[in-house]
Symmetry: C2
Subunit: 135 residues, 2 copies
């Protein structure tokens, strides 16, 4: 366990079922922004998202491994956390562990069932280098 | 009226009361991302947001006048529009016209009442150069 980078006042948002809006940059420095399932890894204090390697976002993070993720309280959109930081690692999602955990969290299923042929799932680990809390 | 850059299938999202998650870049190319009130200007086909000139985001847009704005259907977070594009203009919000219209849309008041001393309100006009629809 490392020190908690997320203030106690907003800690609950990380366990809620809101989406993380994750902004990245393409190779050409074009901004992208999209809603994303996420999990908070409380052991390592990192934000985890799942991607397939076919996604533009995966290519973006290979070149520009930084994000700004905005996560709002699903009950109150004026209360939110913005997490900015580098990607610590992008690793294969062994046994689909992360995507299955996300399916459990968001749709209540033990397994993620929407894989497409050829999909390679990876885990993106984001370090909350800077955390801003609002509301 | 110019051609509509927003497909009919997702046009309703622009009039809904969801938030635009607006990503920008600081002078040092650091990503920022935050939920924002918005209005769709159907005459000019531009996305409008309101800022005070004291905000980091205002300084960002002065240096890097581009955004990626993600707007989800408030009833269905899997259905969303991503609007990427340059800022066409940043102009004074004469008579607080935009911020009052936003207060009307979001909180049902004729006037925005949360001004702070010294606030200068501006209108940011975003051109939807690229529009991606999901869900």
């Amino acid at each position: 366990m490392t020190d908690d980078p997320i203030p106690e006042s907003h800690r609950d948002i990380l366990d809620a079922k809101g989406f993380a809006h994750v902004a990245t940059l393409t190779e050409k420095q074009v901004l992208q922004n999209s809603p994303t399932w996420y999990l908070w890894d409380d052991e390592r204090k990192q934000l985890l998202i799942s991607l397939t390697t076919g996604r533009q976002r995966y290519r973006n993070l290979r070149v520009n491994p930084r994000v700004a993720a905005c996560i709002a309280d699903p009950e109150n959109p004026y209360r939110y956390v913005e997490i900015r930081g580098p990607v610590d690692a992008i690793v294969t999602d062994e046994g689909n562990e992360l995507i299955n955990a996300l399916a459990k969290k968001y749709v209540g299923k033990d397994e993620y069932t929407r894989h497409k042929p050829g999909d390679v799932r990876v885990v993106v680990r984001i370090v909350p280098e800077r955390v801003l809390c609002f509301g």
